[in-house]
């Protein structure tokens, strides 16, 4: 095992799969020679050559179409969208085309594509770089949306994504790239897609979170434990489809839930989860399902994002209100 940052774990996953399967290709803007604007693909072109790891012209729609075409000719593309906001340029490719290839050909063709994109706030990037747009993709049937929160999961989930014959939108929170380290096995291993992880056990309230918010939820749980409130923290890992079994089981135990996301209230994954909890476990609830989210504005200009983004204090406040309901 080695200590790795999240970004190193991501690079390691791609290296592992490039080595493991000749049909894996990696491409996007600046990912080849330069090794990516975050250095996520550093060294890979050198190791695997320009045929396998290459730069494309600056056109996201082109990159998406390329991936679809390579996918139906037997390759396993990993395409990078340099920052999440540029996904709008390739929205048809993602939501309109990759998502339905299996369906519209009755299983004749697949889209074994992994779409990687950095996202997430708190690092003062320009507009349309940090937005939490996972909700848009989560509303698209046919696309898995995966968001790791630890280096270990980052590698295992990325390998699973690359090996999946269905398209996966794999989002990397920029704030987590280098801010945390963890033990990551050197060999290939997978972490199951569609399976949530209980990061902390507790009996009093369930926190459902993903991405960087997992760490805020853990921090909130830690502080609440000093007041004898035991919060259970669930890391979704895949936000579409959601692992409802794990959530419902937890809520049946704690009878209270707070669903947490960085995205705006109207824009997300949390709304669907709240509805599912109500539908499936209403009689177990002691209080309404609460949500911690950002307000319904455009992602703010960089100088204000720290105030705009929800944090552990917002979670603590909502948790207490839920318990005192």
């Amino acid at each position: 095992m080695a200590e790795m940052t999240m970004i190193k774990a991501i690079t390691d996953a791609m290296r592992t799969e490039l080595k493991n399967d000749e049909d894996v290709l990696l491409f996007g803007e600046d990912v080849g020679y330069y090794g990516g604007v975050f250095r996520a693909t550093e060294g890979l072109q050198e190791e695997f050559g320009e045929d396998r790891v290459f730069d494309t012209p600056l056109a996201e729609s082109g990159i998406g179409g390329l991936a679809i075409g390579l996918g139906v000719t037997g390759f396993r593309p990993i395409m990078e969208i340099q920052f999440i906001g540029f996904m709008f340029e390739v929205m048809d490719g993602l939501a309109g085309q990759m998502s339905r290839m299996h369906y519209r050909t009755g299983g004749y063709y697949d889209s074994p594509i992994t779409v990687r994109a950095p996202f997430g706030g708190g690092v003062k990037t320009p507009e349309l770089h940090p937005d939490s747009l996972e909700g848009l993709m989560a509303q698209t049937p046919g696309i898995r949306v995966v968001i790791p929160s630890t280096p270990y999961d980052a590698k295992g989930l990325l390998i699973s994504s690359i090996r999946s014959n269905d398209p996966v939108f794999y989002l990397e929170h920029m704030k987590l790239y280098r801010s945390l380290k963890g033990e990551v096995p050197e060999e290939a291993y997978t972490v199951d897609l569609d399976k949530a992880d209980i990061k902390r056990e507790g009996d009093d309230i369930t926190f459902v979170a993903y991405g960087a918010m997992v760490h805020s939820a853990l921090k909130a749980a830690e502080q609440l434990s000093e007041e004898n409130i035991a919060a259970e923290v669930i890391d979704l890992r895949t936000v579409s489809p959601v692992d409802l079994d794990t959530i419902i089981e937890s809520v049946k135990k704690t009878n209270r839930a707070v669903v947490i996301q960085e995205a705006q209230k109207q824009a997300g994954v949390a709304a669907g989860i709240s509805a599912e909890i109500s539908e499936r476990a209403i009689l177990h609830l002691e209080a309404p399902v609460a949500r911690v989210t950002a307000p319904d504005t455009v992602y703010p200009f960089a100088s204000d994002e720290d105030v705009w983004l929800p944090d552990h204090n917002d979670i603590i406040e909502k948790a207490k209100a839920t318990i005192d309901f």
Partner: protein
């Protein structure tokens, strides 16, 4: 394809000698000095911005040194009433169009007041999404045409931007609607790390005009006079109803792609940098003006001092601007506040008053 049509258009060579007398634009001595004044001032603004950025006093900034002739030369050819649809790097054109320096710093820092264009300034906010401004340019141009104004719109992007679908759609629309648009592609040789010859197999970006059925020209982008002359012609065509033009300016960015972590030594050599610095637009134009006795070191030093003082004053204004509140961001979402935002506005106001 008649290749000769896309030979690089030049007026001043690297030594400031006029090599194309026939195409010499009709500019007074004062105007010539004014172009140099703007280029020098812009170079200083850039140096100051880079240093402020390194001190952490600015936010996002994309350096412009090396592109002064392309930026100033093209902007000098348009009218005060014309529209600009800039990319993130095109701050100098905006400033010379009337966008206050201090606001450009607020834009850099990500403050919404940076986007509040002063009354009467016909410009879009610098675009972050590459290509978006190009399709919007077709729309602005159609708007101007429908209103019967004799104005034009100029849009800017880079060699990388010329790969986007929006680039082709924008030019094609502008051609199809026959509107007064000027598309400038500043080919500074790199899109972050990817060299221009990996963006396209076409020999020039200028020739991409052919498919859209519009005029295309490639210009020496280190030669302010050539850029000016080409843009002036494009503008004349635009306002005369003769349709849009694509102008490719061959230039170079001396600095990194932006101050957010790009290291150009990873993808280009110092020999290449040196080669391009020999073609420096300021050196060339200075030599030309000196040969006409229109320039002096003293004059240049005055401009340097003026620019530095302006930067200082603008920074002071920025540092006195209150930090924006989330409630303000909620208020600027639209003209009317829908119920969800009304509720959130109250929430955030309450939070802010208890801070």
């Amino acid at each position: 394809m008649a290749k000769h049509k896309y030979e690089t258009f030049q007026i001043l060579d690297e030594n400031g000698k006029v090599v194309n007398e026939d195409e010499m634009p009709d500019l007074s001595d004062e105007q010539l000095q004014d172009i140099m004044y703007r280029m020098v001032y812009t170079r200083i603004l850039d140096q100051r911005a880079v240093s402020l950025g390194r001190q952490g006093r600015l936010g996002f900034y994309a350096p412009v040194a090396g592109q002064e002739a392309s930026m100033i030369g093209s902007h000098y050819a348009i009218d005060k009433e014309d529209w600009i649809a800039p990319g993130y790097r095109d701050i100098p054109q905006l400033i010379w169009h009337g966008y206050p320096l201090w606001q450009s710093y607020l834009f850099s820092k990500g403050h919404y007041k940076g986007g509040q264009m002063p009354e009467g300034l016909n410009a879009l906010v610098p675009q972050i999404i590459i290509g978006a401004q190009i399709v919007q340019t077709a729309g602005i141009a159609l708007g101007l045409k429908k209103k019967g104004n004799s104005q034009a719109v100029i849009s800017y992007t880079g060699d990388g931007g010329a790969s986007q679908g929006d680039f082709y759609e924008g030019m094609n629309f502008a051609g199809a609607f026959h509107v007064p648009a000027i598309f400038v592609v500043q080919n500074n040789q790199y899109a972050i790390s990817v060299p221009a010859d990996e963006q396209t197999a076409a020999e020039t970006i200028a020739q991409k005009a052919v498919a859209a059925g519009i005029e295309g020209v490639q210009v020496d982008g280190m030669d302010a006079l050539a850029v000016y002359a080409a843009t002036q012609k494009a503008r004349q065509n635009a306002v005369d109803g003769d349709g849009p033009t694509l102008i490719e300016t061959l230039c170079y960015r001396y600095g990194p792609h932006s101050l957010s972590g790009d290291d150009p030594t990873r993808y280009r050599t110092s020999e290449e940098d040196d080669e391009w610095e020999k073609r420096d637009p300021l050196v060339r134009f200075r030599k030309y003006l000196e040969s006409k006795d229109l320039w002096s070191e003293e004059k240049e030093n005055e401009i340097v001092d003026e620019a530095k003082a302006d930067v200082k004053a603008a920074m002071k204004e920025v540092e006195e601007t209150p930090r924006q509140k989330v409630s303000e961001l909620i208020e600027i979402m639209g003209n009317e506040l829908p119920n969800n935002l009304q509720e959130q506005l109250e929430e955030y106001r309450a939070k802010e008053s208890s801070e």
